[in-house]
Subunit: 241 residues, 2 copies
DNA sequence: CGTGATGTTGATTGCTGTCAATACGTGTGG
DNA sequence: CCACACGTATTGACAGCAATCAACATCACG
């Protein structure tokens, strides 16, 4: 791994989101993490590596993915700034993780997290909530992959990114390639591109360079995400005129 | 809900699998559950219902599923005897649950489970492991739904059922309809049927009635599950000769 | 300014969905 | 015990969405 420790002084924090409805007024025990930096394309861990750390993204973005023996790939998640990754296996990682862009993150030792969760009930609660929420979002993903059309998937993806990214809610950063998006949505890169073009032609999106789009009509995008097609355009958007 | 309490005397047990590698030698705290019985097709809870109980299947089988606004459905899981269901939401269920066949199960109150998990560290550990394992299996499912072909999905499904069901490992019970299988695998009922026919023609499976199949060639089934096609048959198995 | 990577668009193929008809099997009633 | 009927499963014909193959455009970068 080409990652580089940034500083000797450890970063202090707690990796999991603090459960708001937990009724506790105190904060969970703080952990010390190791700041790390890695360049675009760097492998952070591979499928099968033992789980040593969990990571919190500071800047940049990360993809975790699985590969089938014949090369087919499915990206399991994109981790954006503020988000956690690395919880994809019990003893060994079931996914690999790579930096989509140059990235900075904080590594928290698994053993310390486990010890913390065993000591601190609030930390345990936060961890529990985190795992359950991940579980539910994976179920959403199954519905998307199993039952949604290409353009619905792309629309869902854009809305998801819009909700997760900080900054202007109508400007969406797409740090990953079309190929990555395809492998996240179970589509080919061409189909992703065509769907985006379709939304552009329908006036739902506007290009701000290949890695940034502006949402011009959020309602229409939400309709597209749930399969409600504008009668005029219908599904003709993916076919050449 | 038409479910009926079976007996006044509560069933005693612990709903989650006991983590073997936890290092503990004691058992987790026991909980009392309410035995219930419900007839084939009965709705056990609906999407949006508040989470009151977790259920452990005693006999029969259960499906949990999500429905999109336009009627598309994805079955999230089949729960077989000995398995748990009901953990599909934090405050409210994100899935509905129905009995695939007449079924008997034990309902454990969510509040009691939560209290138990807070009191008993071993119970907490078991719960944690269960959630993580569910998370990983959902990731497997995403790969299946996002990147596998129809016959690969069906083969994976059969292998999964074979591994989960007790009894003769070469005889697989299929209590659910082809329609259910399709909605579990993101396929149409016809495609499921065609895949099964293909395996039958290739000598991999033999019918033992529509709800039971015998695995004649487990190796070939595993090959089919990972996309390794026998050169002669190729993918022609789904096309009419 | 050239060069390679990435993105878009077009043409075609093919897997899987849809529609339709037939077969099977289970359960009921005579 | 058999006949019928309904739900379920299978098979067939066809259509359509998305993958694949291919060419071109655009962008990033040296």
């Amino acid at each position: 791994m080409q990652t580089v420790s940034l500083a000797r002084s450890p970063a202090i924090g707690f990796p999991f989101p603090v459960a708001s409805r937990s009724g506790h007024t105190t904060s969970p025990a703080q952990l010390s993490g190791r700041p790390m930096r890695c360049a675009r394309g760097t492998l952070i861990y591979a499928e099968g590596d033992s789980v040593q750390d969990l990571y919190k993204v500071v800047s940049g973005s990360i993809r975790t993915y699985r590969t089938l023996s014949d090369g087919r790939r499915l990206i399991a998640s994109f981790a954006l700034p503020g988000e956690l990754f690395g919880l994809d296996g019990i003893g060994t990682h079931r996914c690999a993780a790579e930096a989509v862009t140059d990235a900075v993150m904080i590594a928290f030792a698994r053993k310390e997290i486990e010890a913390c969760v065993e000591r601190d009930p609030l930390a345990a609660k936060c961890f529990q909530m985190f795992a359950l929420e991940k579980l539910i979002s994976e179920q959403d993903r199954c519905v998307l992959l199993g039952r949604k059309t290409a353009s619905e998937r792309v629309a869902c993806f854009l809305l998801d990114l819009a909700d997760r990214s900080e900054g202007h809610p109508h400007l969406i950063d797409l740090p990953m390639s079309r190929y990555d998006i395809g492998d996240y949505l179970g589509l080919s890169t061409e189909t992703v591109s065509r769907s985006l073009t379709c939304f552009r032609k329908r006036g739902i999106l506007a290009d701000r360079g290949p890695h940034r789009v502006e949402v011009l009509d959020r309602d229409a995008l939400e309709d597209a995400a749930s399969g409600i097609e504008t009668p005029a355009t219908d599904c003709a958007c993916l076919r050449p005129v």
